[in-house]
């Protein structure tokens, strides 16, 4: 896949001019957000739950190596094989080795951001292993040759007509735009794949340290099937997904569905401790690959550490006024929206994603909605300062801000500047910020400054 976080501005502009895209986004986002209000307001202790989730995550991240070791120990005792991968290529090679061992031809995948992160599907296909996304949204995106545009609703940028056309083109079926019919076409097509797959790959929503369990939460049943039908199941997940106890799940059960899809609870939860022993159910072997891939960079930073609390629900995206308008693809990265604008530069390098921390109005909605209370706006501001200090931003902008600072610090200079500007303004000489004003009206300069009006007022009152 082509990742282009450095081209955010161009991508965003293109997205803004795509009326169809904006219509699709508005429909999906407003629907989910209004349902979310309903299911969140039912819980009077929502704020407590957020705090508890935050505390559990904080505690785990502070003691991450302990809990990872405990998970590894318990899972291994249960008969699960645990592998650690420091980067994408190591993780992909593990998967390939396992696949080669059983001479795998067909792999079914359930939705996983980590596999997107390491480009696993493309890698397996290059190596001659047919790899099929089985989540309906991911399947649509795979057919279209695109990237997911949201964590939990990957095809929300597409309308039913677009999906209908895609299916008739790629699957050779008669055109229909009815969601029910499209869904059953996908069911039939994928059912065949499930029954013939020799390898199943999934992510994990949580890893439980005390029991060595893998927890997968879903609605469609595709993860359940991907992890039950093929002989081998490989779980690939980030090291930050571990939590201490099974009982901690009770908190996350309440917040995850509500935050991700505005549901009280998802249709299916699999808690997997050990390979299956009774036929015909599988898998005979389970592997868990714990992926670092830049996550320890965050762990080293007191500031950025908290971005690892993220449970990948995608709520901050839906709440973000920028995301609402440009959609997921504009970010040009795997992790999108507000948290993506923290994770992408933090994990892969600020120089590779400089525009993303600036792609925010800092309105704070992302923090308000975040179920684990990550202070996203603070992290964005901090990353901005890092970008400026490292010289990743434009020199011209830096100069302008320097001049502005001098003006703001010196009252006389400020007053002179404002008079000076107004003088030319009255003569009809106005500054032209072409790029800024091409899409919106340029604000008019008031005839009198606030200070002048204020002083006048004081005089009349006195």
């Amino acid at each position: 896949m082509n990742y282009t976080p450095l081209k955010f501005k161009e991508n965003a502009l293109k997205a803004l001019r795509n009326t169809n895209l904006r219509k699709n986004l508005t429909r999906a986002i407003s629907h989910t957000l209004s349902k979310r209000v309903e299911v969140v307001s039912e819980l009077p202790n929502w704020e407590d739950l957020r705090q508890r989730a935050h505390d559990i995550k904080k505690h785990t991240i502070e003691n991450l190596s302990h809990y990872l070791e405990l998970f590894e120990k318990r899972a291994t005792e249960n008969g699960i094989k645990v592998l650690r991968a420091k980067d994408a290529s190591e993780a992909k090679n593990y998967v390939l080795q396992i696949a080669r061992k059983i001479n795998a031809k067909l792999c079914v995948k359930s939705k996983s951001m980590v596999t997107e992160e390491i480009g696993l599907r493309e890698f397996l296909e290059e190596n001659g292993i047919e790899t099929v996304e089985t989540d309906l949204g991911e399947f649509i995106v795979q057919l279209a040759g695109e990237m997911p545009s949201h964590i939990t609703a990957p095809a929300m940028h597409k309308s039913r007509d677009e999906i209908g056309k895609l299916f008739s083109e790629k699957l050779g079926v008669e055109y229909t735009n009815e969601p029910e019919k499209l869904t059953s076409i996908a069911r039939e097509f994928l059912r065949h794949k499930f029954l013939n797959a020799d390898l199943g790959i999934s992510g994990a929503n949580f890893l439980i340290a005390e029991t060595g369990s893998v927890v997968i939460v879903e609605n469609e049943g595709n993860a359940g099937l991907s992890t039950t039908l093929p002989k081998i199941h490989i779980v690939i997940t980030g090291i930050e997904k571990v939590i201490p106890r099974l009982a901690d799940l009770t908190v996350f059960f309440k917040i995850l569905g509500r935050s991700a899809t505005a549901q009280r609870f998802t249709s299916y939860v699999s808690i997997i401790n050990a390979p299956k022993k009774s036929k015909p159910d599988s898998p005979e072997e389970i592997y868990v690959i714990l992926l670092d891939n830049g996550r320890t960079n965050l762990l080293k930073s007191e500031k950025l550490k908290q971005a690892l609390y993220c449970i990948k629900c995608g709520a901050c995206m839906l709440a973000c006024p920028i995301y609402q308008r440009v959609g997921g693809h504009a970010y040009g990265s795997i992790y999108l929206g507000p948290i993506g604008s923290v994770l992408t530069p933090a994990q892969f390098g600020l120089d590779k994603a400089t525009p993303l921390p600036f792609a925010s109005s800092l309105c704070g909605k992302c923090y308000e909605i975040c179920p684990v209370k990550i202070e996203i706006p603070h992290l964005l501001v901090w990353l901005r300062s890092q970008a400026v200090n490292s010289g990743f931003t434009s020199r011209f902008e830096k100069l302008i801000f320097k001049l502005w600072l001098i003006g703001m610090k010196n009252h006389k200079l400020y007053k002179f500047g404002s008079k000076f500007l107004r003088y030319f303004y009255k003569l009809g000489i106005k500054p032209k910020f072409k790029k800024w004003s091409s899409e919106r009206a340029f604000p008019e300069l008031a005839e009198k400054s606030f200070k002048e009006i204020w002083e006048k007022l004081k005089e009349t009152e006195a």
């Binding site: 609703a153 029910e180 869904t183 469609e220 049943g221 039908l229 099974l246 609870f265 249709s267 299916y268």
Partner: protein, 176 residues
Amino acid sequence: MKVVGETDLIERFKFEFERVGGIFIETTSQGIFNNISSIITTENIARVFIEKFENEIDDILKNLSVTQIITQPHSIEQLAQIDASITGCDFLVAETGTIVFIHKENRFKSSILLPRIHIIIADRGKICSTFEELFAKTAGKFDSIFMVTGPSRTADIEKVIVPGVHGPQKVYLLLI
């Protein structure tokens, strides 16, 4: 604190389970045969998988009039042919309307997910109030747990909810 009785918990379970699209039927062990027979007619079911119950239910269900009854599946392909499965369960969680399956010999996750219809038979003693209670009861001692809350569903096309994308379209719970 208010002590919540079993009947209240079952009411809560019913409310939550029906809210996610489950079909709740309260019955007796004598009534099961008629209940399931009528589901078989309305849903046009020809092939069923029946889990081992280790009680009189085994004998009752033997006499269902369908084309094929499977009790010992020998392959996934065979399970993929069935229209419905009839299984027991281990717990019911009232707060979310969730049905909990703990895996053991003779319980197949694929039999829960592959057919179009899933019929679960449970007795009232299976009810738990919350997940806290559930996890306290299981104490981490299991190979795997599968939780089902209503039918399989997707909203990936324009947020329209469509049941039965990969798993069952309909989930019936018969409570004895």
